[in-house]
Symmetry: C2
Amino acid sequence: MPRKHRVADPREQVLASALRLFTRRGYFNTSVHDIARHAGVSIGSIYHHFRDKEDIARSLYAGLLAQMVERIEAIQARHRTTRARCYALMEALFEITEEEPEAMEFMLYAKHREFLPSATPVCSSKPFAMMREMVREGMERGEVRSMDPMIASTCLFGGAMRLIMARLDRVLREPLPSQLEAVWVCSWRAVAA
Amino acid sequence: MPRKHRVADPREQVLASALRLFTRRGYFNTSVHDIARHAGVSIGSIYHHFRDKEDIARSLYAGLLAQMVERIEAIQARHRTTRARCYALMEALFEITEEEPEAMEFMLYAKHREFLPSATPVCSSKPFAMMREMVREGMERGEVRSMDPMIASTCLFGGAMRLIMARLDRVLREPLPSQLEAVWVCSWRAVAA
DNA sequence: GTCTATATCATGATAGAC
DNA sequence: GTCTATCATGATATAGAC
């Protein structure tokens, strides 16, 4: 849905269009001209707001990660036990996937190293680090069996993450929230003390 | 390691070079000239053996999936119980990741939809279907709790798959086989009857 | 079957008027 | 800050000799 003439906030409009086009066709199948057309701005305007094409992707990625960090912090503020926090996080991940699949896909599934050489892989981004820390705390409290925190968080959230990927790939038909209980039971069993 | 002059089987040599370059730099950051140079053959030779660049990726992908299917069949032939089969499969996946990380990465991590519009997503490929079927059989035998087979197989292998991804991203330091027991205990707990 | 040389084209990025 | 017009590069793919 390309905007026709003037655009309120060109920068945001460009980021929104880039997110859509990058996830639909991929980064390399999307030209800066495509983004300009879709966003309803000119090439010149884009290059005024962003250094280059890579900078668009970088800004997008940073913004989405920051949003994610905020959500995790909100969850940590609302719940105290590790079990409740992890459940709420899994629920949130499923909801975000349904409501903003493109955001989720860009964060998770895009191979950022291909077009963001400087960016660290997703697994080592702050949100993932927070998930690992959450699980590590659970071990201290005796809620989670004692083991390597990396293994524990991967096993706890791995099923959910793979299911999210399957959903993004349209391999899974049912909306994720309807599967939450089943997945949670399996996931928590995997690591519960 | 580009070969200097004549090459035994140019087709195989091209596929091997493509696998290396695609995984190191990404599909779109690799030109056909790069592949030619690395494989020690000419552009003309490449276009004699392959229809176009996409055809190289397609052949590579199909070959790797076929190999994977063979390995799974071998495991099914060697083991009878679902538990033993799944364990052997996880072990094999970990070993393959260490021994042929590029093959694993190309199959799993590359976003094939970007450059293989016709290919189905990895999750719906034959090896993944075989994994789901393996788990479904386990339910009939009473080894695995009764639930949606898609959920069960995702929860059973999700942790291992995510760990493989973390290893390919060099986020995980330790070789995967050394983590096998810990991951297996968690994974089997998740779905065991 | 393999090679070199080349056609064709799209893309990222810039210049410079308004 | 936004726009149009344009440049320069490097890619895919082909032609045609050997």
